[in-house]
């Protein structure tokens, strides 16, 4: 085999270069060489890979985070709804507790009911409640509500009863009437509605010393309402323009009749039938 001297000298030269490179730098020349050319690609690849990976990781993380966020939001909403429900239940429970405590002297069964509709009209004041004949509600039963958290007050009377709901006329309805008396003076009169915000007590004696602020209670003489039910307070006293031998008094209910959302039907059967 004939060896080309030139090629042999090149190979030997390179070998000695590698060896001397290795002896001096303790690295491989090829690596250095290749590294010099390839490092930009490596860098680029690594950088883009890392960035892509990071992006993907962040994206997936964000997607997960977003999902988690949405899930948490839903959970918060659900919890808020539950909390509101529990708060409402607590409020109802407290109101019921308060009502039964305050009304313990009324020896009649009480039926708690929710107001389901308030049909406002120009000449009638009604509310619809969610209790009917299946719950023991009967026509003409008195309807009460808590007044200022301290007392129960008469707000109306059941007029029509259906299986699951009933109609209640409020004390300012023109068809409402009750025999009442003024607590301080004992004067009696007839409470009637006039489809205005306040009902009136008619037929008070002309010498009655009633005045603004006096409390008005049911007298029990009408056989419909038990005696001693608080109705309201007198706000104005007038001479009756139709029958001047009587006085009449404007009454403010102690309950905001248009905002009441929970009432109590007093299961008292009227003593007289109509």
């Amino acid at each position: 085999m004939k060896i080309n001297k030139l090629k042999l000298s090149i190979v030997l030269g390179l070998l000695s270069l590698f060896l001397s490179w290795y002896a001096v730098k303790k690295t491989y020349f090829f690596n250095e060489f290749l590294g010099f050319f390839l490092s930009p690609f490596w860098k680029g690849a690594t950088y883009s890979g890392e960035k892509s990976r990071g992006f993907l990781e962040n994206y997936l993380f964000l997607v997960n985070l977003k999902k988690e966020n949405e899930r948490l939001k839903e959970e918060i909403l659900l919890l808020k709804a539950q909390l509101a429900q529990y708060q409402e239940r607590e409020r109802v429970y407290l109101e019921l507790e308060k009502f039964y405590k305050i009304s313990s002297k009324l020896n009649y069964p009480k039926i708690a009911a929710r107001v389901i509709y308030k049909p406002f009209d120009y000449f009638s004041d009604l509310i619809f409640i969610d209790k009917g004949s299946k719950d023991g509600v009967m026509p003409q039963m008195p309807v009460l509500a808590i007044a200022g958290g301290e007392a129960v007050a008469l707000i109306g009377q059941v007029v029509e009863v259906y299986n699951h709901w009933s109609k209640v006329i409020l004390i300012n309805h023109p068809s409402f009437a009750a025999d009442v008396k003024v607590l301080r003076t004992g004067d009696r009169g007839i409470l009637r509605g006039r489809a205005e915000s306040h009902p009136f007590v008619y037929y008070l004696p002309s010498d009655a010393q009633v005045k603004s602020g006096d409390e008005v209670l049911t007298s029990g003489q009408d056989g419909l309402f038990p005696p001693g039910l608080l109705v309201g307070q007198i706000v104005n006293v007038y001479r009756d323009p139709a029958q001047s031998i009587f006085k009449m008094a404007e009454i403010a209910s102690l309950v905001d009749l248009y905002r009441v959302d929970m009432v109590f039907v007093l299961a008292k059967i009227p003593e007289i039938s109509f």
């Binding site: 120009y122 000449f123 009604l126 009637r192 323009p241």
Partner: protein, 166 residues
Amino acid sequence: MNLKEFFFIGIPLVFLVLFLKGFLQSFFLAPVGNPFLSIALIFLSYRNVNVWLWIYLLVLGFISGIETNQEIFNLGYFFLMGVVFYWFKGYLNLNNIRNKLFFWGINLLVFFIIKLFLFLLTVPFSFTFSFWAHQIQELFHFFVVTLVWILGFEFFLKDLLIRKDE
């Protein structure tokens, strides 16, 4: 009015209005006129009185009556409105807005006056200024708010009612 209009316009409209009325009066804590009367007047303005419109008027009257505990009065009024309109349809030209406004206005006034009359039968009223001022204020409120309902229905239902033939 035909069967299709009754079920696809009339009845859904009643439910929509029932919801809207309940919402608005709970929001404002005040009466919001009588939208059922408004619906009746709109249909009477655009349609001939036939069996379906009679039934629809009765439905409207009954729903309107439940709310005020005056079912019989409302049923009767809505029914009579149909009868009167049936008789006078030939003499009434309800193609222009002036005549329509007159027709609506008269109906609203009559409806309110009858209600006021029934109310006066039940309350021991007196001829004091404040009492009558209150009634006039209520009449004004009823008239304006119900007219707004009518104009609203006119705006939304006009095309639908003009295009369709019975």
